[in-house]
Symmetry: C2
Subunit: 204 residues, 2 copies
DNA sequence: ACTAATAACAGACATTTGTCTTATTTGTCA
DNA sequence: TGACAAATAAGACAAATGTCTGTTATTAGT
């Protein structure tokens, strides 16, 4: 192995580590060694040790494959619920249709995802078929986009609070606001993210 | 440990494995043992072995933390490019602003992400600030939403091909279609997904 | 009650893997 | 050039970890 200065190799080692860690399983020291063609294990370990000192990696000393990214923002897999209905969602979680990866930094509280139906939020840029990622919470602020249970049906609407009176507004002139009698609405949670897939993928 | 039948414990072991694997680092056999309070390592290994036979887990025999999910739906981390400009994007990739996790099954080809600017695609449900995930490709079909380079600026528009003549249509009556002279437009790629975050998160 | 099958337990062993110690090479700077 | 630091190398050791062999419970079915 040629001798290099200025930590060029170290940077490459870091790239390699990040790639492998993000891919699912952190590599062993010897795997790093092989990947870079070092003749000695220690060379690889030396780089890793320095990367830890520099703060670019974190380490659980002694453990196998103990290196991780300090950003550590692992992923959270959020269940995509097919249909959202009264009983199941408020209590247990039914069998999910799939899982959606969400950055953990966004994941305060319990999350779930559902497919948006209807055009009522069109002017807010939420179209039918979009995925809404929701944090389950029983109340929300005025102006938040929420998922509420109206007549045993989950709908996405913008919440307005008028003197503590709940109003659910569509963002589409064709849909009138819903102003239900107090106690008749259950807010399931707040929409924290929406997604739209333009290419359909074969089901697993 | 109580004796259980019907693989109830096994199912829980699988749940545990999936959680941990998705979280970033597969657990060791002994970590499974501890998590379930087994008195013997072999008990944990026995469950794992059976899960492999059942096809619910995959294993790289002998290696530390060698269990993985057969679905193998690893994640891909797509670089979120701050500004998209002429030179850099068509050649090398500039320093990314961050990374966006994308399900690998969607990841044919090379992906990148960028932040949408302007209201020109409002009626297609794409608002300023949205994240567009793009597969880099030099051409696309009529009707696709693409990222194109017009006058050294990247814009998101809907592609229309009129007798092989490229037209870039906004989805907003306030914006006229762009019909550039042939050869003047560079298509950077096709938008395969859009996202919108409703809660800002502290920057790292 | 007897048998078969699965689950759990116990202990030992072998491989993988992290770490340490020491030495050699290579580049930087006075 | 000589001193110093960083990078690389070699080998050994110890801890972590996967695997094996044999035994004991627990349950279902006859």
């Amino acid at each position: 192995m040629a001798y290099t200065r200025e930590g060029e190799t170290r940077e490459k080692v870091f790239q390699f580590m990040r790639e492998r860690i993000l891919a699912g399983r952190p590599p062993t020291v010897r795997e790093v060694q092989e990947a870079f063609g070092f003749h000695a294990v220690e060379t690889a370990r030396h780089h890793l040790e320095n990367l830890v000192v520099e703060g670019k990696l974190r380490q659980e000393t002694g453990k196998a494959r103990g290196y991780s990214l300090p950003e550590a923002r692992g992923l959270l897999y959020v269940p995509l619920l097919g249909r959202v209905q009264a009983g199941p969602l408020t209590t247990a979680v039914e069998e999910p249709e799939g899982y959606v990866p969400v950055m953990q930094e966004r994941a305060r509280g319990e999350l779930f995802a559902l497919r948006v139906r209807g055009e009522s939020m069109k002017d807010a840029g939420i179209l039918p078929g979009d995925i809404a990622i929701v944090r389950r919470q029983p109340r929300a602020d005025s102006g938040d986009i929420v998922v509420a249970l109206v007549e045993d049906e989950a709908t996405v609407k913008r919440l307005r609070l008028n003197r503590k009176r709940i109003e659910l507004h569509a963002e589409n002139p064709d849909f009138p606001p819903i102003i239900p009698p107090p106690g008749e609405v259950i807010i399931l949670g707040k929409v924290i993210e929406t997604r739209r897939y333009y290419e359909l993928v074969a089901q697993s």
